[in-house]
């Protein structure tokens, strides 16, 4: 795989996602103590992600990467801060408008074997976003879109009727990607999405992600602790440690000078 050319030097694309002062606290009750303990998962996290670009969010385990990813798709409610998507704070949106925004940003989890409904076939899994966000679509039309999405991730027709446990790790992650692509999202949040795959599957899926980004001008927030893969996929990076974005330089031998620290 090729390293990504730096995004600077070209005209700056508009900001798609702007996270401003985001904090998240988990409160924990104790069985025999009235006082609750608060764990700060995120502290005053801010960054911008531009259209068509990839931001790698790197950091050790427990640094708050996954919590941040969940906040962005509203699976967690941050204690303070703003999440501006195309300039609108999605935390302030009414439920119906939130649902529309959710159609444009998708989270892909690390372990696709547990992120896909084990009772459903590949076709049923990939079709689901359409049944939620594109009601009124005819059955033939939705089938066509499902097949198209599965073709995009190079999953042949002989896999369409299988269930997740009948697929390999890489194929499952392709199904998750196809599902995310169904609604032509503008933003994909890849939460360690390649971490559970072997090197060859990582390479194939990485190439596919690059190709899809070029084709559909999608933005990726690539959450990872694999700096080598981050250097291949991302234009910018941010280091998250202890729930904060910390100013830090990545090892030069890993990134070969291709990544730019996030502004």
């Amino acid at each position: 795989m090729e390293n990504r050319p730096p995004a600077n030097g070209q005209a700056q694309p508009p900001v798609l996602l702007s996270v401003q002062g985001l904090s998240l606290e988990y409160a924990r009750r104790h069985a025999f103590r009235a006082k609750r303990t608060e764990t700060h998962a995120l502290r005053d996290v801010s960054f911008d992600l531009r259209e068509g670009e990839t931001l790698a969010l790197v950091g050790p385990s427990g640094s708050g990467k996954s919590s941040l990813a969940k906040c962005l798709v509203l699976l967690e409610t941050p204690s303070t801060g703003r999440i501006l998507y195309r300039g609108t704070d999605i935390l302030q949106l009414p439920p119906e408008a939130r649902r529309e925004v959710r159609g444009e940003m998708h989270l892909i989890f690390q372990d696709a074997s547990t992120a896909l409904n084990p009772r459903w076939t590949v076709t049923e899994i990939v079709r689901e976003p359409l049944t939620i966000h594109s009601k009124g679509l005819s059955s033939a039309e939705s089938t066509r879109l499902v097949i198209e999405a599965l073709e995009q991730v190079e999953l042949g027709a002989n896999w369409h009727a299988r269930r997740p446990r009948e697929l390999s790790g890489g194929q499952r992650q392709r199904v998750a990607l196809a599902r995310a692509l169904m609604l032509r999202p503008k933003l994909l949040i890849l939460d360690e999405a390649l971490a559970s795959l072997d090197l060859s599957a990582q390479g194939q899926l990485g190439n596919l992600l690059l190709e899809l980004q070029q084709r559909y001008a999608m933005s990726y927030l690539y959450v990872t602790h694999d700096m080598r893969m981050a250097s291949v996929l991302a234009h910018h990076f941010a280091v998250l440690d202890g729930g904060r974005i910390v100013p830090r330089t990545l090892p030069t031998e890993l990134i070969a000078g291709t990544l730019q620290p996030v502004s």
């Binding site: 969940k70 699976l75 959710r102 159609g103 989270l107 547990t114 992120a115 939620i132 966000h133 998750a176």
Partner: protein, 320 residues
């Protein structure tokens, strides 16, 4: 089809085993139905001996078991010495009454438990969950007998519904619709007592099954797509939790004949409960055996139904 046939054969073998063990244990218990007759000075020892010979009480238990099995195949289930009739004729009307009561109570308990458990699971850790948890904890802590007596007291105080029995005096002369209404009124108290006794256990189970599924990554992933709560519950969580709930439903069906013994006795419901109690006190082996076997049949049937439902509902089981 092969799977169903295999399960039927297993069930038959199991029932045969249960019947043999139960018969052996009952035979090993000291005393028999004629012991009380011996205490009666008006009945001579010769007459008692003749009766014992007539009913084969002194035969070895395998021989008596073989006779009993033959009578089961004829649908008679042996002869009740205390009721002086074939057990089969005694059993069916009582079993029907018990089933009417327990089936209604089980349906009611599940109708309460599933939505309640889902609501609690969806509001985990919040006040609604804590309130629900408190109510179920109180209901679980109250012994069944106290619950029945409380309801009995309520019925006696308010006169909203009858306090015992299955029909009012003189109901034989009523029209069918009035008789059905009379029966419905008599059912309220025992059905409520049984359902309130069973529902808290089911609620806890449903809550925990749905909670476990709601935490599953595939549901978090589905939520990330903006899927609404109703679809999350009905299309994802309930089918995913179905396996453990179906197994519990099988157990509920299996327990249909054995859960209501106490309530039937306290509320004079003419079901299997009072019959079983009287038969045990009179050492009427054939009646006790018949009730035990009927309960075992329901347990096996409940498991069989649960297996078939699992096979029907879970595509992964069908694929094995």
């Amino acid at each position: 089809m092969l799977r169903v046939t295999r399960r039927f054969v297993h069930a038959l073998v199991l029932l045969l085993g249960v019947s043999a063990i139960s018969f052996a244990l009952l035979s090993a218990a000291p005393g028999n139905v004629f012991d009380e007759l011996r205490l009666n000075p008006q009945i001579s020892p010769e007459a008692v001996a003749a009766l014992k010979a007539q009913f084969g009480v002194d035969l070895p238990w395998p021989t008596r078991y073989a006779h009993w099995l033959a009578s089961v195949l004829r649908g008679e289930f042996g002869y009740s010495v205390s009721y002086r009739c074939r057990v089969g004729t005694l059993l069916w009307p009582r079993a029907r009454n018990t089933l009417l009561l327990t089936a209604l109570a089980t349906i009611l308990a599940w109708m309460i438990a599933v939505p309640w458990g889902i609501v609690e699971a969806l509001h985990r850790g919040r006040w609604l969950d804590r309130l629900g948890g408190g109510i179920t904890a109180i209901l679980l802590a109250i012994p069944e007998l106290v619950l029945v007596l409380l309801l009995l007291w309520l019925a006696a105080r308010t006169r909203w519904f009858p306090t015992g029995g299955m029909f009012s005096l003189g109901s034989a002369e009523l029209t069918i619709s009035r008789k059905a209404w009379d029966l419905a009124q008599h059912l309220i108290l025992p059905v409520l007592a049984l359902a309130l006794g069973t529902a808290p256990f089911l609620i806890r189970y449903v809550r925990s099954a749905i909670s476990a599924v709601l935490d599953a990554p595939f549901l978090q992933s589905a939520r990330g797509f903006g899927i609404g709560t109703a679809r999350i519950v009905y299309r994802h969580a309930l089918p995913a939790a179905a396996n453990s709930l179906i197994s519990l439903l099988g157990f509920s069906i299996g327990a249909l004949l054995s859960t209501s013994l106490l309530i039937e006795v306290v509320l004079s419901w003419p079901g299997l409960g009072p019959l079983m109690l009287e038969a045990m006190l009179a050492r009427d082996t054939c009646v006790v055996m018949a009730v035990v076997m009927l309960s075992a049949v329901f347990l096996v049937l409940g498991n069989l139904i649960a297996d078939l439902l699992l096979y029907w509902s879970d595509p992964r089981i069908r694929a094995v």
